[in-house]
């Protein structure tokens, strides 16, 4: 294991010294992606979602916030007397489902990515510290994790939102506060196992400081499992935003988010299934996209898998 690691480091050094290393890496990444069809599809999905969220005002056919209740719950493909076509139908307020879906992508992605970024960073950092130092620090952090894990998140959310008011930003805060523990747990667990590994000892022996050890040597080992959890959490967070919204603790109308569209549309599930189907599908596809890309990145980034996958030294990242 340690030998493979060293070999890898040497290759990495050679890489960095190459003036074209950045470009070459990207080109290799691209070539890799083109070869992996599933990852390619995933990347395209993610790209589409991100672009449509960014360009929402340009590409959405109608104003997502204004509707006419005279044309509510019309099926996909509906054309009203003015000749306006609603490709994905209208919702319970007579608003265009497609436009709401596009604008909803903004909120859902913002919340999802925001929470992942905050909770992931805080949780991973806490787990690293906990697992690396052990002892009292570990005890303290893990007791906080235990306490919060045993505590109903909804209640915490309620109190915080009551105090700071509902908005997209505050939802991110609340869901981050509720979501960091899983990262801390996982990271700590892995940290505990790799702490004992030879190369960490070696690094310590040659006098590397804690920060360097954690980030240079331990961090790469965390990428694979953390990525898995990240993508799994993304789906959960997008849906959690829906339940907050449903209680009146979340996104406020007439703004939309995928979660809110599902929560609001669920009463009509048997008569207007498109209200729930399209946002549900959007969530599923996005998560699928993120996950396949993450899986692919994992094989690219994980040092152990890398060595295993390319023992002959043809590493490409």
């Amino acid at each position: 294991m340690a030998e493979g690691q060293l070999a890898l480091d040497e290759r990495a050094v050679a890489y960095v010294e190459d003036p074209l290393w950045r470009w070459r890496g990207l080109i290799r990444l691209g070539r890799d992606l083109l070869r992996d069809k599933v990852a390619l599809v995933g990347a395209l999905i993610v790209l589409t979602v991100v672009v449509s969220a960014l360009l929402a005002p340009v590409i959405s056919p109608y104003d997502p916030t204004s509707g006419h209740i005279g044309q509510r719950l019309e099926a996909p493909g509906f054309v009203n007397e003015k000749g306006e076509r609603y490709i994905l139908g209208t919702d319970q307020q007579g608003r265009d489902v497609l436009s709401r879906l596009i604008y909803g992508a903004r909120v859902s992605l913002m919340v999802g990515v925001g929470v992942i970024a905050i909770a992931g960073t805080v949780g991973t950092a806490a787990g690293l510290i906990s697992g690396y130092y052990g002892g009292r620090v570990d005890d303290l952090i893990m007791r906080i994790v235990d306490t919060q894990t045993a505590f109903p998140g909804l209640l915490l959310a309620l109190v915080i939102i009551t105090m700071i008011g509902p908005s997209a930003r505050n939802i991110i805060i609340v869901l981050s506060i509720n979501g960091w523990m899983v990262f801390a747990r996982i990271t700590r667990g892995i940290m505990l196992t790799i702490r004992e590994k030879d190369y960490i000892d070696a690094a310590r022996l040659i006098g590397a400081n804690d920060f360097r050890i954690i980030f240079r040597h331990a961090f790469p080992n965390l990428i694979s499992p953390t990525l898995t959890i990240l993508t799994l959490e993304l789906a959960r967070i997008i849906l959690a935003e829906a339940s907050l919204s449903f209680l009146g603790l979340g996104i406020q109308p007439p703004q939309s988010s995928w979660g809110l569209m599902i929560a609001d549309g669920r009463d009509y599930i048997t008569i207007a299934s498109w209200l729930v189907t399209f946002p549900g599908l959007s969530i599923a596809l996005t998560v699928f996209g993120v996950m396949t890309v993450a899986n692919w990145l994992r094989t690219v980034a994980d040092p152990e898998q890398r060595v295993k996958a390319a023992p002959a030294g043809t590493g490409s990242g």
Binding site: S66, G94, D139, L140, T147, F246, D267, T270
Partner: protein, 528 residues
């Protein structure tokens, strides 16, 4: 805000202190009473007992929204409890199911003796389910129990004028009021008569196992799961047709529909109108519920009557009734009363839908483009949130900037009862006046002192005050007509629609729903 922050900080500190003491065995042992029980076998399914061979047969399941707060019929203002106890307890008087006219129930006759005294003659020989006799003493006891300030009943506003009762003889009782109260008979259709001995002996027992005089007897309450009643074969009005009734809480609208379609339940209330096409049998009746938008009339720019009128012109009530409620609602005619309410003014009509007029009025008042906050909530009433969003869209269409905030239920309640000072610009609420007398609506919602009011007009205050104690029926009606008209002209709120009560039924069940929205199982017949 600040104190809350301090509180939180204190908590964090305390917590940190405790945790850093990790390892020192200081904390007390866990309480022995709270060890989690075994996770294994579920309790036995509750199989319905065999129906008695003759008399009432069959059983039905009625869906309620949630577990009742209590089964004490006098404590809470909780619709789930009322639906159950309406079948266990009875009142001195009742109403005609269709016209709302007041009829005899436990009292066979009644009269007003003087301004503040009403005399009721009870039907003789009625027993509570536990054998206690229904007599004048029980009536006096029931009245005094609910008005006792220490009892702190949430139903106090329904019986507000009552000061007590007096036993005249075994079956004759006087109910006393603090002043002339023409609505007293209406109040007696609300006051449930409870057994004095049983209810005072063990309040815990009484809250869990109701004992009344009604056509159904309490069997069991498994919290969160169901409440079961069985037919009272000795019922003084003749044994009911259906042998057993189970009330089951199902919160989710789509699940209720599914349960009805799967034949698991027989009566579903508050059905979403769009579902009717999928239900084999449904019945509906004009109801008493008025969703409405309260306007805080004390603040800029809403203190200008033109702005308030503009709000009313801007809302397309007919479209709301037709589109949102599939026609199972009617436009509120500039008042939150139905023709069945005493004090309904037939000459007052709704503000027509006129967005141009609304724009002009806003322009005149210099309020075009004003930003108004609209507070709503979600999940308590049929399509509550949807209605708020639809109204907001219509208000925005005339050039207002509506800032919709759907808040959590308790916050919503706090805002509703915060008083006129703290009231938000606009707040959605729903009102239903089961006493069928204008006083309740007008005094609560449109007088300076009203507990949900954000509007005050000395003229209206005076009319409502006088009307409350006016014994001349015509004069009294006139006062209410006048008050209703003023409130409409002043656009004291945004009037919306009047909802129908919609029920999904098992095809084998025969039942005509009532104007007052009550569900009396004794009126139902189950065919094979």
């Amino acid at each position: 805000m600040k104190t809350k922050l301090v509180t939180l900080l204190t908590a964090v500190l305390l917590l940190a202190l405790l945790i850093s003491a990790c390892g020192t065995p200081a904390p007390p042992p866990p309480p022995e009473a709270t060890t989690p029980p075994e996770a294994t076998t579920p309790p036995e399914a509750t199989t319905p007992p065999e129906p008695p061979p003759a008399g009432p047969t069959g059983s039905i399941v009625i869906v309620i929204g949630n577990d009742p707060a209590t089964l004490d019929p006098q404590a809470k203002d909780d619709g789930n409890e009322h639906k159950i106890n309406d079948n266990v307890y009875e009142h001195l008087l009742t109403r005609d199911p269709q016209t709302g006219e007041i009829l005899a129930e436990l009292a066979e006759s009644w009269e007003q003796v003087d301004d503040t005294t009403w005399r009721f003659k009870l039907v003789e020989g009625i027993m509570f389910h536990n054998g206690e006799p229904l007599n004048a003493e029980a009536v006096v006891y029931s009245a005094e129990r609910i008005i006792d300030p220490d009892f702190n009943s949430e139903q106090i506003s329904f019986v507000a004028s009552i000061t007590g009762g007096e036993v005249v003889d075994e079956y004759t009782v006087d109910i006393l009021t603090d002043g002339p109260d023409p609505t007293l008979p209406a109040r007696m259709t609300w006051l449930k008569i409870v057994p004095p001995v049983y209810s005072s002996e063990d309040i815990d027992q009484f809250e869990q196992a109701p004992v009344g005089t009604g056509p159904y007897k309490f069997v069991e309450w498994v919290r969160g799961s169901h409440v079961t009643l069985e037919a009272n074969v000795d019922y003084w009005g003749g044994a009911p047709d259906i042998g057993e009734v189970t009330f089951r809480p199902i919160e989710e609208a789509a699940t209720r529909l599914a349960a009805l379609q799967a034949d698991e339940v027989d009566v579903v209330t508050d059905l979403i109108p769009e579902y009717l096409a999928q239900v084999e049998k449904s019945v509906s009746v004009h109801g008493l519920e008025f969703p409405w938008i309260r306007i805080n009339t004390n603040i800029e720019p809403l203190n200008d009557v033109r702005v308030r009128q503009a709000l009313n012109y801007a809302v397309d009530k007919e479209a709301l009734a037709e589109a949102l409620y599939s026609g199972y609602a009617s436009v509120a005619e500039g008042q939150m009363l139905t023709p069945g309410h005493f004090g309904y003014n037939p000459s007052v009509v709704a503000y027509p839908y006129d967005p141009d007029m609304a724009r002009d009025l806003l322009e005149e008042a210099g309020a075009s483009g004003a930003t108004l906050e609209l507070i709503g909530e979600s999940g308590r009433w049929l399509k509550d949130k949807e209605l708020v969003e639809a109204v907001a869209a219509q208000l925005e269409a005339v050039g207002l900037d509506i800032d919709v905030n759907i808040v959590e239920w308790s916050d919503w309640l706090d805002l509703l009862f915060a008083g006129a000072e703290a009231a938000p610009d606009l707040q959605y609420s729903a009102h239903d006046n089961v006493l069928l007398d204008a006083d309740r609506t007008l005094s609560g919602l449109f007088t300076t002192e009203g507990n949900q009011a954000a509007y005050g007009n000395p003229d209206v205050d005076q009319l409502v005050l006088d009307g409350r104690s006016e014994t001349d029926v015509e004069l009294r009606e006139q006062m209410y007509h006048e008050a209703v008209e003023t409130i409409r002209e002043e656009a004291a709120c945004i009037f919306l629609v009047n909802l129908d009560n919609i029920y999904g039924l098992n095809p084998n069940l025969e039942w005509t729903p009532r104007l007052d929205g009550r569900i009396f199982v004794k009126d139902m017949v189950l065919s094979d």
